[in-house]
């Protein structure tokens, strides 16, 4: 059975392009057609520029016909979370604050992808300024989970995950500050990778929390993840926090590394709040690895219990400062009835930001205030060090750590919207990875009885993406979870 173009993997599309079975224009047209067919229901996109995408596709085909093709990604459309700059395209962060903002420059990842011929395709929805776990916090309306349109796709990169699952792009980029790639990947049944902090340049990524943010790919397969990582990883002189390290050929490494591996199961990650169906799916995956000769070790990450608290201090502190630039003075929303400069700040920000963004700015301002900073921010940084130390200690014994990605499959829209704390707990398994700066990946590992995808999280060593991808790849080789697709046509559009 052959997949329609819009459900093929990047690797497959790439080989069809190179054998000239298809052209990039045909592929791009197929993606556009699919998007037009389903996005009224999914609403993954904030915007897309059909003419621009087709012009890029045409240029790619011309390169190919004159044997000047730029590599495996040449001619492949890639969707961008609407926090990553693409020159001449809107950059909104799904916020009224930036509703009409068009970026005048390319992010480093955008430049890199353009450099290898990939087609920048569309601006994908998110929780406003990447703050949220359901994509309900978008100022432009929520994105729906393609597997059940009444449910959330996860967040904050919900648009990136949903677009991929719905066949609206062969691959997408997201960003992950506390789980914003891995959790929506799990909830939408795709592969999502959050690389090690510092592996990918953040230049051109709208900052939420600078010390936690990292760009990463959403793909149908682990191999595709390696292909995208090859294109976007590496030191950038424009980002002082990007790390100077040798970048291997991640795709080639997939085939070289075979295991068996020593895998750690943190006992703290399988406690209260974990959905039994999710627990079962993860346990099955562990059994699979065991059957392949992997050594499974119970490990302890004792400071995990502080991770959510620490995260909401550090991330909010940084965001309170990062978002100060949105003031209505130079660009973005400016209140029409301001009397003086203070009034302009107050009104522009009151009108431009949504409730969750305001909540986090206020929280972050508070934890940095004089008299409170030592008790909150400084202390949180110390605990953060302990959380990282827990992981590094564990890696003396194991090659990777296995956990669920999300405690539950996709929940219903509105279910947690009124309870920020319940929403924050969605990221309980993913947040520690950001605090520790480690690479984490979510792959599909099963479905709930009601047909919702379940994700398995693999956490690797710092800059150990090659090994991490190989561990995931070996599982994927013998499981077909990722090849299922949602039936959007059969569903009625949700509100």
């Amino acid at each position: 059975m052959s997949e329609p173009l819009h459900y093929k993997s990047v690797a497959e599309l790439s080989s069809e392009l190179s054998s000239k079975k298809i052209s990039s224009v045909e592929l791009t047209q197929a993606v556009i057609a699919r998007t037009k067919a389903v996005d009224a229901k999914v609403r993954a996109f904030n915007s897309f520029d059909e003419a621009d995408a087709l012009a890029q596709a045409k240029a790619s085909d011309e390169r190919r016909s004159s044997a000047k093709t730029l590599g495996v990604l040449d001619g492949i459309p890639i969707g961008f979370k609407d926090v990553i700059s693409v020159k001449g395209q809107p950059l909104t962060a799904s916020s009224n604050m930036l509703k009409n903002f068009v970026s005048p420059y390319d992010a480093t990842v955008t430049q890199k992808l353009k450099g290898v011929g990939a087609i920048s395709w569309g601006r994908l929805n998110l929780d406003e300024f990447a703050m949220g776990s359901s994509t309900e916090n978008s100022a432009f309306g929520q994105t729906h989970n393609p597997w059940d349109l009444e449910r959330v796709p996860g967040g904050s990169s919900g648009g990136s995950a949903a677009a991929l699952a719905a066949g609206e792009a062969p691959a997408t980029l997201g960003s992950d500050t506390g789980g914003s790639i891995r959790q929506p990947a799990a909830l939408c049944g795709v592969v999502g990778l959050k690389p090690t902090y510092g592996l990918i340049s953040r230049y051109g990524l709208i900052a939420f929390a600078s010390s936690l943010d990292q760009i990463g790919p959403f793909t149908r397969t682990v191999e595709d993840s390696a292909i995208l990582l090859n294109a976007i990883a590496g030191h950038d002189p424009m980002d002082s926090t990007s790390f100077k390290t040798e970048i291997p050929d991640y795709r080639a490494e997939l085939k070289k590394r075979k295991g068996p591996w020593k895998l750690g199961i943190p006992k703290e990650y399988f406690g209260e709040g974990l959905d039994p169906e999710v627990a079962k799916a993860v346990e099955d995956a562990v059994s699979y690895y065991k059957s392949k000769g992997c050594e499974i070790k119970e490990i302890s990450l004792p400071h995990t219990k502080y991770a959510v608290g620490v995260y909401y201090i550090i991330a909010t502190a940084e965001c309170s400062s990062n978002l100060a630039r949105y003031d209505g003075v130079r660009y973005g929303h400016r209140s029409k009835d301001a009397n003086d400069i203070l009034d302009l700040y107050f009104k522009s920000r009151a009108e431009g930001f949504g409730a969750e963004v305001k909540r986090r700015i206020i929280l972050g301002t508070y934890v940095l205030s004089s008299g409170y900073q030592d008790a909150y921010y400084v202390r949180a940084q110390k605990v953060r060090t302990l959380i990282r130390r827990d992981f590094l200690e564990a890696y003396k014994d194991v090659d990777a750590v296995i956990t669920p990605t999300s405690p539950t499959p996709a929940f219903k829209a509105g279910e947690k919207a009124a309870n920020p704390l319940a929403m924050y707990l969605c990221d309980v398994y993913t947040i520690g990875v950001n605090l520790a700066g480690l690479p984490g990946l979510s792959i599909p590992c099963g479905y709930s009885k009601s047909g919702l995808p379940i994700g398995l999280q693999l956490i690797g060593k710092p800059y150990g993406e090659s090994e991490l991808l190989s561990i995931a790849h070996s599982y994927e080789q013998e499981h077909t979870w990722g090849t299922r697709h949602p039936n959007i046509e059969a569903q009625k559009g949700a509100l």
Binding site: V83, A93, Y105, R202, Y203, P237, E318, S321, S369, S370
Partner: protein, 482 residues
């Protein structure tokens, strides 16, 4: 006044002379069309990141080395959060708890009892020096305020002194000395008119003998070194008269208007900001190792006052000449090169302090643009000493050199300025001159030696400047002794 003691501390901002801004590659500059020295980073567009300018860090470490500061083992960046439209990010990247330079001092010279008398020297201790980024400029019109971000992001050093100065004169001397050091080190031109150096002063007074500092008032917008002196004097008098009339000093920030010589309150302590400083997560700390410091140490020039003391000792030139030469590093270097080439430091000093400075003043160009190089001037001085040309001829050669850049020997030859009159002619001219001025002759005979000069003018005139002055003097004395 005698019952009180003044305590002054200064916060001086100095723009680092750098090709690019503190955290991005766009150029720095002054006087460019508004908002042309900007880029996405300067404008704080969504998604941009700062990258540190290493040359600016070099400059501040060099400043620290020049001013005997302790250099921190690493450079760490913090965010100072506050909303103001001249600050595009609404936070400023600065150094809060770990400044790159700690302690150190600036040597100053107080005014002497007369212009030709060296004043007292003192060391003013520094608290710290740190690096940060400058802000933009607001231009207020009738109904709008316009912002120019050209200055935003320019590397800026903040130099903070201990509360250690006791008079407006000391503050004036401090800024003068600091500026000289900064110019010597190539760190900044410190042109206050261009905002390259800006100064705030903290001023308090206390009864003599009291240990605790009085309530301080911060004075802002001291836009020139003279305004600093005037503003501080004004503030000291304001505080004194306030205390004498039974009033109380309020801790506040005041704005000094140099034009009118008045100040008014900007804000009081109650309005103080909470800047919520925290380490900037976009910038990694940078290690400053010994090799780095050693490299910069090697680039450090001799300090101005050290150079002045050396000139006075080594070349035996007077204080007045050194105080003309020293403030301008290139001028003092020019002097030293010339003195070495001709072996006559006094003559070199005089020529430079008088003729050369006048020449430069005319053209308005910096000394390295002047066509008269040290080897030109040294050669000219040698020609005079050797008696080859007269002083009058030398002045002509000098101005010719200034316009053509030729060597003096060539000009002398081309213009036939050699003191080449024959001894017979000289003898005749001298006799004529003596004969034509019996009054001077009588004076000379009566013992007034300087009366001889009266005979020289007519001789030179008759010789059309080509007489060797030494020879004229000898001939006149011989004839007068007869």
């Amino acid at each position: 006044m005698n019952d009180y003691e003044v305590v002054i501390g200064l916060e001086v901002h100095v723009q680092v002379k750098a090709n690019s801004k503190m955290f991005t590659r766009v150029k720095t500059g002054f006087g460019h069309p508004e908002n042309t020295l900007t880029d996405p980073v300067v404008l704080a567009l969504p998604g941009v990141l700062p990258v540190m300018n290493h040359a600016a860090l070099d400059a501040i470490i060099k400043s620290g080395l020049l001013l005997s500061c302790d250099i921190a083992p690493y450079c760490k960046w913090d965010r100072k959060n506050y909303f103001y439209p001249d600050s595009p990010k609404n936070y400023q990247i600065t150094q809060y708890d770990k400044p790159i330079c700690l302690r150190g001092n600036v040597e100053i010279e107080l005014p002497g009892s007369a212009r030709n008398v060296m004043g007292e020297h003192k060391l003013i201790p520094l608290t710290r020096i740190h690096l940060e980024e400058d802000v933009g400029k607001l231009n207020h019109a009738a109904f709008d305020s316009l912002i120019d971000y050209n200055r935003a992001g320019t590397p800026l050093m903040e130099i903070v002194t201990d509360p250690a100065m006791q008079s407006a004169d000391e503050a004036f001397a401090f800024l003068t000395a600091l500026k000289t050091v900064m110019v010597y080190g190539g760190i900044s031109d410190c042109d206050m008119e261009k905002g390259q150096m800006r100064c705030d002063a903290n001023i308090s007074i206390r009864p003599k003998g009291q240990e605790q500092l009085g309530t301080k008032v911060e004075l802002k917008n001291l836009n020139s070194i003279s305004y600093v002196r005037d503003g501080i004097s004004h503030e000291i008098l304001r505080q004194l008269s306030l205390l004498k009339s039974g009033g109380k000093i309020v801790q506040e920030t005041r704005d000094y208007d140099g034009q009118t010589g008045t100040s008014q309150s900007l804000r009081t302590k109650e309005d103080a900001h909470d800047y919520r400083y925290f380490p900037d997560p976009d910038l990694m700390p940078v290690k400053v190792d010994d090799a780095w410091k050693a490299r910069l140490k090697a680039e450090c020039p001799e300090m101005p006052f050290d150079k002045q003391r050396r000139f006075m000792k080594e070349y035996d030139i007077p204080y007045t000449i050194t105080s003309v030469l020293i403030p301008d590093k290139s001028l003092s270097d020019y002097f030293e090169a010339t003195a070495k080439l001709c072996g006559q430091a006094h003559a070199a000093g005089n020529w430079i302090a008088n003729d050369l400075l006048r020449e430069i003043g005319k053209s308005g160009e910096p000394i390295d643009q002047c066509k008269i190089k040290p080897n030109h001037l040294a050669a000219l001085i040698k020609l005079i000493t050797a008696g080859t040309i007269s002083t009058t001829a030398a002045r002509e050669v000098f101005s010719e050199m200034a316009s053509t850049g030729e060597l003096p020997e060539k000009i002398v030859e081309r213009k036939g300025l050699t003191a080449s009159a024959s001894s017979d002619d000289l003898e005749t001219w001298c006799k004529d001159s003596i004969a034509s001025d019996p009054k001077a002759l009588a004076e000379f005979k009566a013992g007034k030696d300087s009366a001889i000069n009266a005979f020289k003018g007519p001789v030179m005139k008759a010789a059309k400047g080509k007489a060797n002055p030494k020879l004229v003097d000898e001939t006149l004395r011989r004839l007068l002794a007869l």
